[in-house]
């Protein structure tokens, strides 16, 4: 009947010949090509679910920022723009080293690949370290909603340039900090998962697993890493840079 449909699928029998030669080909795939396409498609879909996951938080942010803009401004001014910028730079660098890692894997250079992955790992840890310093600072300043919070800084600001907020708006800074911790916390959790997987990848790459033509895992992890990076690229201006010109 419809022979077109069959012709669009490249020969099944060629694929079988490949079977014997590719050790990484899992039994249920017809060809290496199909396996690669399937896993990278799966990874993109997973990232889509991640977008929806963070999407819920961004929606909440959008609504509350519109309602409680003054609280968001003063809350944002409590963050250290220096540490935020530094962390942004660290993450962008780590995305670069990750991309170089994927490149090294394509070129089948084992030592280079391990080097780039270690660099990515170190940068990831630096990011988390700086984040921990920032969290600690929030704790010291009583800016952790629920556990340790005081509106003192917003009703009676120490900085003479900041205008004091009326009590009810000052209370709303808790929403800002709730979102700050929820969003950066979820991001940090993704970073922790990321560096943990990186550790495994480094050991495997050292053993030469990803420099013999099979590099889908490295590529997919690269996608994940860049995704987490991009989330931060959105978080940084939304949380740190609200109305900084005032």
């Amino acid at each position: 009947m419809d022979s077109q449909a069959i012709a669009t699928q490249p020969g099944v029998h060629d694929a079988h010949a490949e079977h014997e030669h590719a050790p990484h080909l899992r039994h249920h795939f017809e060809s290496v090509e199909q396996q690669r396409e399937a896993s990278s498609f799966g990874m993109w879909l997973f990232l889509l679910t991640e977008i929806m996951f963070f999407g819920g938080l961004f929606t909440a942010y959008l609504i509350y920022r519109n309602w409680y803009y003054p609280a968001f401004v003063v809350g944002s001014h409590q963050l250290s723009i220096f540490l935020g910028t530094l962390n942004t730079a660290v993450l962008i660098c780590s995305s670069f080293t990750m991309a170089m890692g994927v490149h090294a894997s394509e070129l089948r250079k084992r030592k280079e690949l391990v080097g780039w992955l270690v660099a990515t790992f170190v940068l990831g840890c630096v990011f988390l370290g700086i984040k921990a310093v920032e969290y600690h600072e929030k704790w010291e300043k009583h800016h952790v909603p629920g556990l340790n919070f005081s509106v003192q800084d917003f009703t009676h600001p120490t900085d003479a340039e900041e205008k004091p907020l009326p009590m009810d708006m000052a209370q709303k800074t808790q929403v800002y900090f709730s979102l700050y911790f929820a969003m950066t916390g979820m991001h940090a959790l993704h970073m922790i998962i990321g560096v943990s997987i990186l550790l495994i990848l480094i050991v495997q790459a050292w053993g030469g697993m990803y420099t013999q033509g099979h590099m889908t895992t490295i590529e997919n992890f690269g996608l994940y890493w860049h995704f987490v990076d991009i989330v931060w690229i959105f978080l940084f201006p939304l949380l740190y840079l609200i109305s900084r010109h005032q």
Binding site: M1, D2, S3, A5, I6, Q9, V12, R26, H27, H28, F29, E30, Q34, E37, A38, S39, F41, G42, L45, F46, L48, T49, E50, M52, F53, F54, G55, G56, L57, T59, A60, I63, Y64, W67, Y68, A71, P145, G146, L147, Q171, K172, Q174, V175, F177, S178, L179, F181, A182, M186
Partner: protein
């Protein structure tokens, strides 16, 4: 009713189960718990969801017993709250969401598209383990003392005012969500990338189309539920204030985020069931499904529209009148693709050679009950009616008609239909017809009175009610008893049939799907060699020409 049947079994004296199949290529517990075979994982799921179905069912039994009398006498009112909450949580997240996709879908999707397995067998196994962990958390919440938020976890009730195990149950649902995300992801990739040569999109069985649509909902909707639960847990555990009015948060936002998942979740539950019905109706009326393309696209349309109707759960919760108007209109819109399906199934039956096998009886049950459930949904979607009917037993009856009358009927239809393929043996015919009938009668007796109760104004979620409602409540409880028997019967005779059922042979129903062209139970690798598909779905002439010069290959 005609006694004609299409069942064609091999002569029982000589028939043997295939020597080699997915069931016997390896033995031992380890070969099951570490398996990558989609068919074995489907069986694991089947066992575990049956377990949770009966726990949830026992809760339903307790609810109905309590409601036998107007006073709260069987249990204290807060125990009643816990019982209906656990009933909802277990039935929605641990039974209905995974029911058809994780069992029948897991078993069949790879075979129907002509593949050896799902794209990611390990992730498939992981999804089962996540499901089990979710089950353990939920059971822990139950044993430690229960949850009484209702299955909706409404804030600030769940975050501030209750002293029960909200966090444990919430974590359970969070994990169950990832199990469902991984199943959906696996299906989408498999359907896109693993189709056999010649298996074009429009040659796919409608079962695959409806699973594709449900998978889109799982992948896009579930993460939103996950983050919402994280926020509820954080709010309860450490007191952040995203939903807390005292700190400036808005409980209505919780409702929006929760229903953004939980309304599409209704379609996650019902769409796979609709896929089952398409297969069954076509097989037992010996006709190609009428309007194949319309039915296929109506699944996708339900998935797309399903994302834009969530606020109809919130008409009485203070959303603006304008948005309520828009959501009401969109809700009417989603009735259209559902109606397209019902009409097309009816048109498939028209002038078909209908036989009344058990799966078909369940399918008829589905068509009638789902239509009632769907139409009463339109009542609830219209603004004025909703104010009167929402939070009454009308809404309870409505979603039980869709979920139990629709989805559970479809699930049982599918389990009976593919049982010979999964196990190689037939279930007892007479007894199963009796069970189908019992379920139908019991169901109507249980839930139809609830429409009337709701219309008269009996509110849901209370252990006590005014005495004038007692007659209808007694009817409902009596029906629940019949319904319980209807569910226990298949459980018993299906188990019996594993050893004593007649040998089914590869294609007892003379159906056209790829799964019926291979041995029952199938080989671990499904196909001896990759099939090349050169015919449309539901092509009974192709099947007839196929059987004329048939060569039986048994592994």
């Amino acid at each position: 009713m005609s006694t004609a049947t299409i069942v064609k079994l091999p002569p029982q004296e000589t028939a043997r189960l295939p020597k080699r199949s997915y069931l016997n290529n390896e033995y031992g517990l380890k070969s099951w718990l570490l398996t990558g075979d989609h068919k074995r994982i489907a069986i694991l799921y089947l066992i575990s969801i049956t377990f949770f179905f009966f726990i949830g069912g026992a809760m339903a039994g307790l609810i109905r017993l309590e409601l036998l009398t107007p006073q709260s006498d069987l249990m204290a009112t807060d125990t009643y709250n816990k019982v209906f909450s656990m009933h909802g949580i277990i039935m929605v997240f641990l039974f209905l969401v995974p029911s058809v996709p994780a069992t029948i879908g897991n078993f069949l999707i790879p075979i129907m598209v002509g593949a050896k397995d799902l794209a990611f067998p390990k992730i498939n196994l992981l999804s089962w383990y996540l499901y089990i962990f979710a089950g353990i958390f939920t059971l822990a919440a139950l044993i430690l003392g229960g949850v009484d938020t209702g299955w909706t976890f409404t804030t600030p009730l769940s975050t501030h005012y209750l002293n029960t195990h909200v966090i444990t149950a919430g974590l359970g649902i969070f994990i169950a969500g990832f199990s469902s995300i991984f199943t959906g992801l696996n299906f989408i990739v498999t359907i896109h990338r693993m189709r056999a040569p010649g298996m074009t999109w429009f040659r796919l069985p409608l079962f695959v189309w409806s699973h594709y649509a449900a998978s889109i909902l799982m992948v896009l909707g579930t993460p939103v539920l996950a983050i919402t639960l994280v926020l509820v847990i954080l709010e309860r555990a450490i007191g952040i204030g995203v939903f807390d009015p005292v700190k400036g948060g808005d409980p209505l936002l919780f409702q929006h985020l929760f229903w953004f998942y939980s309304h599409p979740a209704v379609y996650i539950m019902i769409l796979p069931g609709m896929g089952v019905i398409s297969e069954v109706i076509s097989t037992f009326s010996r006709k190609r499904v009428f309007g194949y393309t319309a039915v296929a696209f109506s699944s996708v349309a339900i998935a797309v529209f399903g994302f834009f109707v969530w606020a109809h759960h919130m008409f009485i919760m203070g959303v603006s009148n304008y948005s309520a108007l828009v959501f009401s209109l969109l809700t009417m819109l989603v009735a259209v693709p559902s109606a397209i399906k019902i009409f097309n199934w009816a048109a498939t039956l028209y002038k078909g050679s209908i036989t009344f096998e058990t799966p078909m009886l369940y399918a008829f049950g589905f068509m009638g009950l789902f239509t009632i459930g769907g139409l009463t949904g339109v009542f609830l979607g219209s603004l004025g009616m909703d104010i009167h009917l929402t939070e009454t037993y009308f809404i309870v009856a409505h979603f039980h008609f869709v979920m139990v009358g629709g989805m559970l009927m479809a699930y049982l239809s599918g389990i009976h239909f593919w049982w010979p393929k999964m196990t190689g043996r037939m279930y007892p015919e007479a007894l199963s017809k009796l069970a189908a009938l019992t379920t139908f009668i019991g169901f109507n007796l249980t839930f139809f009175p609830q429409f009337i109760l709701g219309y008269l104004g009996m509110p849901r979620r209370y252990a006590a009610y005014p005495p004038e409602f007692q007659v209808l409540n007694v009817l409902s409880t009596a029906g629940a008893t019949v319904l319980g028997v209807g569910y226990l019967l298949p459980m018993i005779y299906m188990t019996w049939s594993l050893k004593y059922g007649k040998i089914a042979g590869s294609n007892p129903w003379q159906a056209t799907g790829l799964e019926w062209q291979i041995q029952s139970p199938p080989l671990t690798e499904n196909f001896v060699e990759t099939p090349i598909v050169d015919h449309e779905a539901y092509d009974y002439e192709w099947l007839a020409s196929q059987t004329e010069h048939e060569v039986q290959t048994v592994g």
